[in-house]
Structure formats: C-alpha cells, structure tokens
C-alpha cells in the first residue's frame, strides 16, 4: 500500500495540489532539484490529466485514484481511472510520425516516458498507470 492517497473527481483543477504534494515529498527525500521541478510535476500532471480527460472522458462523476510513496530511494506513483486504458507501445510510436512536432496533442505519454525511469500500465478494475523514478 502506497502511503499518500487521493481520490478525486475528474476535474483538472484537482491536479495541482497532488502534484505539489508529491514533488514536495520528493524534495524532502533528497531527490535532485530538477527532478522535483520538472520530471515529477510534468509526468504526474500528464498521468492525472490523461486519466481525467481520456480515461474518464472528463465525466466529473467518475473518480481518479492517485497513490504515491517513496521507498528505497524510489518514487512510485499509481494513477487509476475508470477507463479501459491505452496501448502504451502504440502511443509511444506516435512520436516517430513525421508531423508529430506540429500536432496540438499526443505528447503526454511521450513526456511521461521521457521524464520517468519506468512507466507501466495495466487494467484491473479500472486502468492504472504506474510511474517510477529513482533518486540519483
């Protein structure tokens, strides 16, 4: 069980307090400043926003569960929505498309993968994205 937990409505205004709390926990645990300023807040914002807007289709009656913890110099965050998930490999491959840089969307999963050490997804009573970042 990860010690920090939030259950939020599918409202993007709910994202920032969680991101702030997790980034603060990373800073307190001695993670690098850049990780606390950039990697953690951006990747976590992407994961929660994706859960709200795509997983739950922005339906405020549907919940997003965020669980986070730091153990053995490693941050682990799990974001669970009520959707059916996405193909991580297919989404990752979109960044190879010739017009990717000029698209308005399609960078969220790419940024999660680029800024975290590990990104995993699975479906089990909802869809979960797990972000892992090790302290250097």
């Amino acid at each position: 069980m990860l010690p920090l937990q939030w259950s939020i409505a599918s409202d993007v205004r709910e994202i920032e307090p969680i991101v702030h709390a997790v980034s603060h926990a990373c800073a307190a645990a001695g993670f690098a400043e850049k990780a606390c300023r950039l990697n953690v807040p951006v990747a976590l914002t992407e994961a929660i926003a994706n859960a709200i807007m795509r997983g739950n289709n922005g339906d405020v009656s549907r919940r997003v569960l965020v669980c986070a913890g730091i153990a053995n110099d490693t941050l682990c965050v799990e974001v669970t929505d009520e959707g059916t998930g996405f193909d991580l490999i297919a989404v990752r491959a979109m960044s190879q498309d010739a017009d990717w840089a000029t698209r308005e969307d399609g960078r969220g999963v790419f940024l999660m993968l680029a800024l975290m050490d590990t990104v995993e997804t699975w479906c089990d009573r909802g869809h979960t994205v797990r972000l892992v970042l090790r302290r250097i």
């Binding site: 993007v12 951006v42 914002t45 969220g108």
Partner: protein, 110 residues
Amino acid sequence: MGFVIERNDELLTVAVDGHLVVANRQEFKQLVLDEVEQGARRVLIDFTDTGYIDSSGLGALVSLGKRIREHGGELRLSGLNEDLRTLFELTRLDTLFHLYDLRSDALSGF
C-alpha cells in the same frame, strides 16, 4: 498564477506567471486568440516567471503559432530556463518556435 498582458499596436506580450498546464491552457489560449482577432500580429510569450509546462500547454502554443501565422503574424517565445528548454528539445518543439533567452532579445527587431 496568471498572465500579464501588454499590448502596443500589433505587438502583444504575454508573461506566464506560474505554470502553463491543462488547468489554465484554455484561458491562456483564448486570451491570446482574442488579442489576435483584435489585430495583434507580433506575439511574444515570455516564460521568465514560469515553473513548468505540460503537454496541454505545449499544444496550446502549437495551436496559437498556427493561428497567428494564418493571420500573417509571428509568435516568439522568450525566457525559457533550462528545464523548459529540456521540454522543448524532448518534444522537438525547439525546431518549430523562435526561442530567445531574454525578452529584450525577442523584442529586438520584432
């Protein structure tokens, strides 16, 4: 968090104070589009006081760049710190926008 706007004829400068993310990107985008509809053609977005930008914020910039070009204008970005430049380089958006270290550099000859 908020946006500080300065308008001088066709020149629009918007300073992003805080983060440009999914929660405020629509407000930001509409603010700039309204000014473009009212004649702004040279648009500078200044990130000197910006924390981080997520994919929604980056997408808003791509969208605005297109709209401004369609109106015959130009979008420039200034004040990106190392973190923000990392985001632009990772997403290859550094090839799409004119990036300047300082607001004064971006305004020179604009």
